[in-house]
Assembly symmetry: C2
Homo-oligomer: 157 residues x 2
């Protein structure tokens, strides 16, 4: 174990510091989420910003974002030079919408469980529980929205 923190990381170091298994790092590389330089002996060497990429990948994973989507996001980072603050900020901005939507969806589910689930409402077309969060809006004429929260007191069961 070479304690010296060099400019680059071995895969073992990246694994340990990120808490992600070596096999998973191989896998991320195979899927194009991560890249590495190879030494003369064909071993991987990671630039230090890989640590942040991996953190980003795992953070996204934890909230249920599929790797394919993460890959697309990361593809916007330059792969020649080390990403700058601005590069990450751009990526960040692109994701706010997605994250906000998911937060809204979760919040809605939580509230629906508290407010609505005991109401007897079984109309799949109207209950908050039943609607995908975004798709909900455009059902029938009258453009009723998800967020004009009329918590369905229909009792058709």
């Amino acid at each position: 174990m070479k304690a010296m923190t060099a400019a680059e990381l071995t895969i073992g170091q990246l694994s340990e510091r990120s808490g992600v298994a070596v096999s998973a790092l191989h896998f991320y590389e195979a899927k194009g989420l991560l890249s590495s330089r190879r030494t003369g002996g064909n071993q991987r060497r990671y630039a230090r910003d890989s640590l942040r990429r991996v953190a980003f990948i795992r953070a996204a994973q934890r909230v249920g974002i599929p790797l394919a989507m993460v890959r697309e996001a990361l593809a916007q980072l330059p792969d020649a030079r080390t990403p700058t603050r601005a590069d990450w900020a751009r990526l960040s901005a692109a994701w706010r919408g997605e994250l906000d939507a998911r937060i809204r969806q979760l919040t809605t589910l939580r509230d629906a469980l508290s407010d609505c689930i005991g109401c007897g409402c079984l109309s799949m077309r109207r209950c908050a529980l039943a609607n995908p969060g975004d798709v909900a809006a455009t059902v029938g004429p009258g453009a009723r929205r998800f967020d004009e929260r009329r918590p369905c007191r229909t009792r058709n069961s």
Copy 2:
């Protein structure tokens, strides 16, 4: 097509009204998330509250909760009689914590992306991006918490 809405639903009706494929309903039943009466001819008949169970399953699914966890939750509902308001309310209460945690995690990710990702922080042990949300608290002595949001200006990269 028998338009008469009877006391029970066929699998086709449940599928159509819930928007879930028949094959998925079979699958849910196989996994113990759903149950049905059988007719003389071995066909499934669903009580009307199945509609709500399915809505609940899908809502949970949409926010990334695995079926196994949903199954456990639904197991708390009585399977002899139709669940009452109170039954659902109990289940709802049990889930608030889980949902709140997920909402917190997502919010943290969103904020970390906005505030922290460009900060140069690569300390996997300290950055909001890197921590599983709950586990974060207990690292080293000093009990620093996740929510005393000191957005890591360490710049050790």
